[in-house]
């Protein structure tokens, strides 16, 4: 079992397979990667040395992660963002769960869609409604 922790040590995901930390080639954000081939990846840590290796990996997630840590088992009531992993032990996370990049991207797309709708309404007001009622 492998846990994915963010910079605060919050456990944001857990996987059976060993996924790896890489850097998104465009954003530079740390992302979860899966080995393409063992030969292509080699040993990957959680620091900038993975940059050149990320190109050869398969991107499987957009959320940011600081490290992927092997653990023997998860807490029975494990949920993403519920625990902090530090010093080899899990403890309840008291803070606000961080949003992952995928969620933020989806929220941003929804906001842009709403903004487009607002633009259309204002555009219609300025070019049709107001001129028609203005002497």
């Amino acid at each position: 079992m492998f846990i994915h922790v963010n910079t605060e040590g919050v456990v944001i995901d857990a996987t059976e397979e060993k996924l790896l930390v890489g850097k998104h080639p465009a954003t530079g954000k740390k992302i979860i990667l899966k080995r393409k081939t063992d030969e292509a990846i080699g040993v990957i840590g959680s620091n900038d040395t993975v940059r050149q290796l990320a190109k050869a990996a398969v991107e499987v997630g957009f959320y940011t992660v600081q490290d992927v840590i092997p653990v023997a088992e998860l807490p029975e009531d494990y949920e993403p963002n519920k625990y902090v992993y530090s010093g080899g032990e899990f403890s309840l996370y008291e803070g606000t769960a961080p949003k992952d990049i995928k969620t933020l991207t989806e929220e941003n797309a929804a906001l842009e869609e709403r903004a487009d709708g607002t633009d259309m309404i204002l555009d219609d007001l300025l070019t049709n409604v107001i001129p028609s009622i203005t002497p």
């Binding site: 555009d123 300025l126 070019t127």
Partner: protein, 57 residues
């Protein structure tokens, strides 16, 4: 306001020149309400490479 109008015109111009010109006309030819913004909008359109949508009266 200037940025908004320019954005609306450019958005239509990205679809077609005719749509861009139609939007330009909607703001500056069919009405004089936004005449005060016209010079600045023209400047933005020119700088951004959309000068073809600018219409004269």
């Amino acid at each position: 306001m200037v940025a908004f109008i320019a954005r609306m015109i450019k958005k239509q111009a990205d679809i077609s020149l005719e749509k861009g010109q139609a939007k330009y006309a909607a703001y500056f030819v069919k009405t004089r309400l936004y005449e005060d913004y016209r010079a600045d909008v023209n400047a933005i359109l020119t700088v951004d490479g959309y000068e073809d949508v600018i219409l004269t009266d």
